[in-house]
């Protein structure tokens, strides 16, 4: 059964990354698209907690780093999404209950994730990101992620609840 779950998780992650690069590019604003992989990680965090979310974040980040149009140093999105998964997992009991808290969590995670990615780029000089362009992209990214949250996050959370192994009171 756990093999099936792993396959399911991998499929969800790959689907998110492909949606992000091949479908949502049609509705990009200034080149920014909704970060679906990040929403997958947040949903995993809200349902399953920090460890599972950090692992999901690592896989999701790796997928973004290696899927075709990516050209940055591999591991940068993995790092960003591990941090996002862990942080989101730590606040899950407040955010799992109310919609507003969930949206705030997504906004915070989007900000942290994109910022960690931009900072790692600045440190590595890959590419040499000017602070100005980072400051322009991050707010748009946060806004876009929040916009698609009501449509995507509930579906993903239901999916993760169904994929959760049965256990006593959680």
């Amino acid at each position: 059964m756990s093999v099936l779950r792993a396959v399911g998780l991998t499929t969800v992650i790959l689907l998110a990354v492909i949606l992000q690069v091949a479908v949502f590019s049609a509705v990009s604003f200034e080149g920014v698209v909704p970060n679906i992989a990040l929403l997958v990680v947040v949903a995993a965090a809200l349902v399953r907690g920090p460890e599972f979310a950090a692992a999901t974040g690592f896989l999701g980040g790796l997928a973004i780093d290696l899927a075709p149009p990516a050209d940055h140093v591999a591991g940068r999105w993995a790092l960003a999404l591990v941090v996002v998964g862990y942080l989101a997992g730590r606040v899950r009991h407040d955010a799992g209950t109310s919609a507003v808290a969930a949206v705030v969590t997504v906004a915070a995670c989007s900000f942290v994730g994109t910022s960690v990615f931009a900072l790692s780029g600045m440190l590595l000089g890959d590419p040499a990101i000017p602070v100005g362009s980072a400051l322009r992209v991050i707010p748009i990214a946060v806004l876009y992620d929040v916009l698609v949250t009501p449509f995507v996050l509930p579906v993903l959370m239901r999916l993760f609840r169904r994929m959760r192994p049965h256990q006593v009171a959680y």
């Binding site: 970060n35 290696l66 075709p68 591999a74 999105w77 790092l79 990101i129």
Partner: protein
Amino acid sequence: MSPTSPGKRPSRAVLVLLLLASFTLITLDARSTDRSPLDPVRSAVGDVLGPVENGTAAAVRPFKAVPGFFRTTGALRADVARLEAENSQLRGRLAGSSVDRNRAAELDGLLASSRSTGYALVPARVVAMGPAQSFSRTVTIDAGTAAGVHPDMTVLNNDGLVGRVLRADRSSATVLLLVDQESVVGGRLGSSMEVGFLRGRGRVGDKARLDLDLVDASATATQGDTLVTWGSRNGAPYVAGVPIGRVAAVYSTPRQQSTQAVIEPFVDFSSLDLVGVVVRANTKSDRTVIKAGAAEPAESSTEGTR
């Protein structure tokens, strides 16, 4: 931050392990100068996900036009597209012709003028676009090594230069756009034949601009002047004579040695669809290679940047 679930602290070990794994990956990829140990993994992932991206893009292509329906009617859009295509064709011809005239006048372009246009092209569609959150401007095209596409080939569309191929997998390839911050292209001003280097600013859409540094510090660009590619040795990564853009503004600062110009590219990078990859005329490809007077990209006489 306090532990959220009473009696159960999340394990730090998992977090530390995953963070270390990320750092290891970054180090492996960033420290290797020539060939990264992750390259095989990248191309394997590309081989698997490339066809999936191709399929997804093909499936959603009809729906991509839907947002447009809300803006204006289909007929008007078709008219605008046709006129734009005509316009860009004429503009491209104009940009090429002024260079041709100059070459002829300098008597060195006796051969080059006849073949400055008309390379053999492999047609391809843009199937995926890298998000701006990744801060690099790259796209995936649905032609790979099976179609005769290889790294360091020039990519253009009917408006002008699009970029160059970074990596090619079996059925897909990654293209670095002209507007990426890491992209440097050698350009030649159509009117004065002065050469310079074009750098992207990392933005797409209406505000997509390139910065031009002229090699000759005393030379200046004039507003409205057109730029074509200068061309590299053996036509890789850029072939010569492809229109790039128009000078939108010129400025100079006392701090800098040369005059700088801002270039507005001919290509609209936010709505890229059909592009062509410049290949040798005798390339074996899984699709029809478009040849118009097919010149060899290898024969460009000028040297340039890599």
